[in-house]
Symmetry: D4
Subunit: 207 residues, 8 copies
């Protein structure tokens, strides 16, 4: 159905044995493969099965870009705090293996707005932006006001107390005044990166 | 910043007098204007001020397409129940005034899956889909699995009891297994339509 | 009161010693016995006490079908994701020891609707269906629309973020538009299987 | 698909005009028709269109038993407080028009347990029971322990304060220790009655 | 202020060293001392300090009845499931050291109502009842209807899923139709036992 | 069962006609009668039926003290803000008709602690205290520390925003550090007054 | 206790008669008086009693600055959307009557960050800032990063859907990354203005 | 921007390696440095890097007062239970390194109000108070009524059951009747101490 997109395995809650079995089945097709929420030990095991696998430690992803698709366009992944980087990386890796040129802009929280404003150019040139934030989750609102393109907001579970494991930034993002923002589940970097790539790739200049 | 998109007034919580004043200020520029959450009586009042205004009764919108932009692409608005139509219409009107060709597909709830499946062609030809649903909010998951394009899910407040005024379908949509779904706030047809138009329009075939 | 149904022990929160003691008391009667939420180590211990005990590893159940009741009818257990299988198995084992013929249909999530539709025959021939799903929990709505029999929906705690440990699919299921759906607690495969068996068995063709 | 069951219209949130239109479309088929959540004024209007329509004031239902199906079996509707009767009636009317013999047992709250125990015979003879309760919602647990058949629990929004508009009894019912209980949405007498009828009717003595 | 009641230490969240220090300070006065939420290892340590200390393993309490007060009246502690016994024991030990004669009635869940009804005599002779229940928490409602005295309801965290770690039975109890029920925090056996003793002891026949 | 206590009608959600009918049935027995949540218009209607009825405007109660029981002991009703008085009055009227001498102490919020402390004598002489508070609901904690008797805490729905219609003070009261506090539902002055009277009356100096 | 601060009456939930009576009692002292949440009709009534009373229509306050205290320092009230102005005005009026010079900066939402940045000078010169916002409530985070003084964040109930009547911006503000932010209840302009004035006035250069 | 305040590192969720790297970067500037939520093992590691670092075991902070600023004014940190001390210490250390004289007043819960009242002098002499409390969180309301200065309320996660990990005292504090209270996130001693220091320092006697 969706040519140009990877086969994806969500490793959380699966044994290493199960993932290896699924991987071996997928490997027979010539698709790209992306495994998310993968621990280092899982990578070590799979690396022995197929030496071409690549591990992104921060993003906890294992990927195999079997059929090198030409990257195009521009997806910008912006994140707020250091602790949000794993989710941002999951988004970045997913968008990239799904065919998008990806640029990263990390540590741009709104409580120090000038760091973000210094990047206005990049924000205005992207085709689609993934904005990742925990704590109060205000980043997408500010980015949405600066960006002429769709912004996908990804709340993270980084925070404590009334943060409610990510519900606080999730609600912040859903209530944003900026009209060009849509939202995915807490910590769902994969979903944010996938949709961003689709938006980036999607219109094929021919209709 | 965002040429090609309307000036928008959210009328809920404003007096008719306030909206009229805002409208008169906007009218001086040559922009398109969209007023959402507008009651019939507000339209009657404004229609006397400017005879070109158009009212969408179901969607509760007033619009003025001042500078007729050529519609392009294809945004498909799918909704589940009859009571979801106001939100679906808000999305459709917004996407249209923002430059998209819009098609509607209403009364396609998942408990009668064959009505939806009969429209698989339309689902596969859209550039972006807005899927509107109250009650259990399962429609976007099914649509997401059928569609090769981004799907924007709009939960509605239509339901009762454990529906929690729309939180139930909101959470359904945020937890969808389909990777191409992003979500907006409960009853936010405007946000869904706006982002859909941006996705539909956005890539200008020239970067 | 309920002849034909097993004596049940809910092992979670009990020490192995306590379960063994309860088991020995029950064993004296000639009933069937079902122990749910049982770890492998508990089975190992009890297997030494009574060699006839059978362990279902996925479903975490220990059973003793002491007085072999003739299975009848047809309970169909459908589940969405791989991680939902433990709950589905708990339901299947329970329905079986309670007297029902049981058939399983796993990995039928709604985001890939065609896998499910390919089984329409089975869905239409069951006397009662148990539909098990985590994530967005949309499966029972679709099944409810296809099935001419009662559907018992079992939400699972499989998911993350706004999933709220199963509240998201629970609310999805309670708000379903399909009229033939009733719901049990999150992860309560036992309750789903028990009620399904009762529905399957219940009407004895003689009143 | 489901022969023997009525066409159903949920009137809440629809204009009288819309309901009349839907009714006229349904009327052409020879089905039974059930309209729920119908105000007196709506009945008055429709009664002029079709004199055969019957109004249940307490249950707020309008029905047309066009093709008189032979009632069979036995569905028992038990409710706790006086204020729960509208939901109980909605269940009773639905079960009846769906082909079940229906018996009512009202004002049987658990804080006066002897009134309920006095009806143990009826409880043990039913094929399926619908137990309706607001406030603390404890009724289904007690009934479940007395009944050898499936019990469908219907929480109501009758209560105040920490009742949370019915969430309190809903959670009570979902957490019941009785294994033969399944649950529907708050105030969903229709769903409870429909499933009860299906359980009552379902097994056709021929598979 | 409150002569006749013990000095109490809530051990949870304190180091063994801290508890020992507090104990040594209290020991100098001639009061009774009650330590709740105490692990076995803590008891072992303190037993070396003062050989008169008594450990209640199920209730996780350590007590020192230094000044033997004459027990009087009658507090009845009723609990529903086996897993609720620790909280019930905490209540029973507290009521006893606070001067009440205490009787226990365990494993009396409402889904098997006859076990409870068989004890109607005891229920009608108590001066105050503590009713402890997890899962759906329906026990106090039934007891309240049978008892001519105040009933203190103690919800427990025993349950899963929509049980919400005890919020479900807490709300059940707060919404009870029985007028003689008051409630304490989830798992707060101590508070239930203390207030029950006060009610039992309180009126001194002399005002 | 409970001689010496009134027959009670909860009028909220009943028509005037229904209440009149219930009243006429109860009136035939020689019990005391208490009607709670009664609007002025209901009283006007019933006053014509029975001239002995007494209306408490603030507490919204109608009472008939048919068989004048000798009041005894001492129940103290303390409330925090002016807006809490209706609930406090419901408690006071209930405790009185249930046989207790009742004293009132209103407008004693904890943010002005000295007003409360000035009444320490009364607090120390009561047999049972009902402490009524909305907003932050801190009153029972302070009273609990001053009182040598049981304190029944009644949260009210007076407040706004994060008050959550009374959930905020309800949780405050359930988490109180004072050991002699038990709690009833939000706005349940009736329940608080009834239990207080039972505690006040209960021990009959003869066991 | 707090000389220099007004006597305050919270009118919501009080009858006009009650407020008039309270006003007449307060009027006898020579204090300033502030009445919040006051409808126009209440002002009309009180204006006849005392012609010096001043009504702020947007902020719904009635004030009497009896003893004209010299204003000092600088409190800045910033608000996000038009619908937040009533709460902002309540804060501004309160801070002023409590002795602070007050400046207002309205319609500065973060989705159009440049409007806010254009006021950086004012933000850096204030002694205390009150930041009022509904919707996603992101304003205080951005202001907190720009301001060298304490910022009091006031969430408003302006929003819909997952806004949860103000809980969304409340949680946003409580989770802010800026270290100089403290928060008051939803819509509590009074509390925000009062504390801001205290901070502005408080240190008297003499300790 | 904020001279006189420390550079702050929130260590929770960072590896020791990451914190060391950040510390080494900050160390080059001549600022004071504060590290919060720091485990003993982290201190041991950093102490080898810079011998001047000071560890506060209870408050879990590491500090370096590089440029000794003269302390001024008076911040009073009051806490309720023993288990709240870690949060109180975090506040105290933060206020001190931010330039305030700090005094501590611990174990002053409201259920024993006289301990608190005995300190009325200190409460009335502080420039700003930080009031830290778990359980029911009533302390700030009482302190607010006694104090002529701003009170910053810090709820803690100390409690169980309906405490909801600190949401209960958070809501208590937000709903306080005392007008001089503002609130920070659950367990956010740092935020409370920082804002208190700012309030204490802020007005420089020169504007
Ligand atoms: N991090 C993630 N969060 C949510 N969904 C994911 C994630 N990674 C992968 N998925 C989805 O999970 C599917 C695979 O699930 P599974 O078959 O359980 O491995 C993929 O098709 C993706 O749509
Ligand atoms: N997985 C389960 N979830 C909920 N209830 C269960 C489960 N398994 C068994 N039960 C119920 O628990 C009862 C036994 O509980 P117990 O006496 O605590 O072992 C049985 O009668 C069943 O009704
Ligand atoms: N304000 C109240 N809140 C809760 N329960 C009440 C209240 N007033 C009366 N009741 C209870 O409601 C019962 C009467 O309910 P009903 O038969 O519906 O009128 C009485 O027996 C009381 O236990
Ligand atoms: N808008 C407001 N929100 C919260 N509290 C308020 C408000 N206005 C006034 N208050 C408080 O309410 C108190 C007066 O309450 P009352 O005696 O009920 O009129 C004042 O002392 C203020 O502390
Ligand atoms: Mg593929
Ligand atoms: Mg524009
Ligand atoms: Mg049996
Ligand atoms: Mg049909
Ligand atoms: Mg003592
Ligand atoms: Mg009676
Ligand atoms: Mg004053
Ligand atoms: Mg600095």
């Amino acid at each position: 159905l969706r040519t140009g997109y990877p086969e994806v395995v969500f490793c959380q809650g699966k044994t290493h044995e199960q993932v290896e079995k699924i991987f071996q089945a997928l490997e027979k097709h010539n698709d790209n493969i992306l495994m998310t929420r993968a621990e280092p030990a899982l990578f070590e095991r799979l690396a022995k099965v197929d030496g071409r696998l690549v591990y992104n430690e921060l993003g906890r992803t294992i990927s195999l870009e079997n059929e090198g698709r030409q990257k195009s366009g521009s997806v910008l992944v912006i994140s707020a705090g250091t602790a949000d980087i794993p989710v941002a990386e999951e988004a970045a890796v997913t968008a990239s293996i799904s065919g998008a040129n990806v640029e990263r802009l990390y540590d741009c929280g709104v409580a120090g707005i000038h760091r973000l404003l210094a990047q206005t150019d990049k924000i205005q040139q992207a085709r689609c932006i993934v904005a990742v934030a925990g704590m109060e989750g205000a980043l997408p609102s500010v980015v949405g006001g600066l960006a002429p393109c769709p912004v996908i907001a990804v709340p993270t579970s980084v925070g404590y107390g009334s943060h409610l494991n990510g519900l606080a930034p999730l609600f912040t993002m859903l209530n944003s005044c900026a009209p060009n923002i849509t939202v995915v589940n807490i910590d769902n970097g994969f979903g944010g990166g996938f949709s961003a790539a689709m938006i980036n790739n999607g219109v094929k200049c021919d209709p």
